[in-house]
């Protein structure tokens, strides 16, 4: 059946729509690679740990990447160049912030002491536009339910509240109880989802054979997770059959 000027509906669907889809797929793949590369160059940070300038760059990158994806008349290079310029700016600003306290203050702001010796600094709260309810909520997030137990509470530039409890309110430590200190040993995953992680074995300083002995004949593929530390402490979780 003819659809448009001698073109059948099938031809239209196969060629025009097909080509358009391939263009969109190709553009998405290219932009995905460039955005991932850009974010990797910026370094590892979680959303909650971002400084204001990093948040701005992340928001802008996502917006800029969306433009050439939605509008195929836009050259993809425009988006890629803009993303790279933002990444370069972010790196430069973070390096400058590391070198200069003044730059850090300008770009990231500075932290504010909200509570001193159990007393709320109302002036500081007003300057950071924080309500009492916000403060109480943040304190609860730090397992603090009584403001009078707080020696210092500092609102960090990334929005987190750091709390130092009064000395009498801190939980007892091993040093307080005169318990001899033991070296901290980091357990590493040696087998994950049935696969041996050689890097972990190397880091712990144990041979593959010695690690396998701990399995007591259970095949590696049957192991969901096995962790070990330098002293040989082992934790094995076998794979469960899920229906």
């Amino acid at each position: 059946m003819l659809f448009l000027n001698g073109i059948t509906k099938t031809d239209f669907a196969n060629n025009v729509i097909g080509d358009f889809m391939i263009i969109t797929i190709m553009r998405t793949v290219i932009l995905y690679i460039f955005v991932t590369l850009g974010i990797r160059l910026m370094g590892k940070r979680q959303i909650g740990e971002m400084q204001p300038n990093e948040l701005v760059v992340t928001l802008l990158i996502s917006e800029i990447a969306a433009i050439p994806l939605q509008d195929t008349t836009q050259p993809i290079l425009n988006g890629v160049v803009a993303i790279f310029v933002l990444v370069v700016l972010e790196i430069l600003i973070s390096v400058l912030s590391m070198k200069s306290l003044f730059m850090r203050k300008i770009m990231n702001g500075k932290s504010a002491v909200i509570i001193k010796n159990g007393v709320i600094d109302q002036q500081a709260m007003r300057s950071v536009r924080m309500t009492v309810l916000d403060l109480v909520e943040l304190l609860r997030g730090q397992a603090v339910f009584d403001i009078s137990t707080v020696a210092f509470a500092v609102l960090e530039v990334n929005g987190n509240l750091s709390v130092l409890l009064k000395s009498g309110e801190k939980p007892a430590t091993a040093a307080d109880l005169n318990v001899p200190e033991e070296p901290a040993l980091l357990p590493l995953p040696v087998i994950s989802d049935g696969k041996i992680i050689e890097e972990s074995l190397e880091a712990i300083g144990i041979s593959r054979g010695a690690a396998m002995k701990r399995l007591k004949g259970t095949p590696v593929t049957e192991i969901f997770l096995m962790t070990m530390d330098r002293s040989g402490n082992t934790n094995i979780i076998k794979r469960r059959k899920i229906k």
């Binding site: 160059l41 195929t72 008349t73 050259p75 290079l77 790279f84 370069v88 790196i91 390096v95």
Partner: protein, 124 residues
């Protein structure tokens, strides 16, 4: 320092791409403008405007692929529509339509060049 080196490389790449695109777009637009003027002169002097239009089309077809990397594809399409009109009206005696096509092509070339060049118009 570890992050500054890739940043510097990226910056150099971005600047390189920009300078190359600027040079390429300017060159292509200037060449096309000359070709448009040649076509106009041929029409005015009773020469062979069809051949001049075909020459312009050939020139544009050669440049189009690389231009689409830097220029909005809508602008390239508009130029092609204008070029198609010029090719048609170069064969006829419809003078007004021919000159309209010429003016349209010149405006589009000017716009493409202006959008790429560094200046207040392209920034804001």
């Amino acid at each position: 320092m570890k992050r500054l080196i890739p940043a510097a490389i990226l910056l150099a790449a971005v600047l390189g791409i920009y300078l190359y695109s600027l040079q390429y777009v300017t060159e292509a637009c200037d060449e096309a403008k000359l070709s448009v003027t040649r076509c106009e002169n041929e029409y005015r002097n009773g020469g062979n405007p069809e051949a001049a239009a075909a020459e312009l089309k050939e020139l544009w077809d050669k440049r189009e692929g690389t231009l689409s990397l830097f220029v909005n594809h809508g602008e390239i399409d508009n130029f092609e529509y204008g070029l198609a009109s010029l090719t048609v009206f170069a064969k006829t005696d419809e003078e007004a339509m021919f000159y309209e096509s010429i003016a349209q092509l010149r405006t589009l070339l000017h716009q493409i060049k202006e959008d790429t060049a560094f200046g207040a118009h392209s920034i804001f």
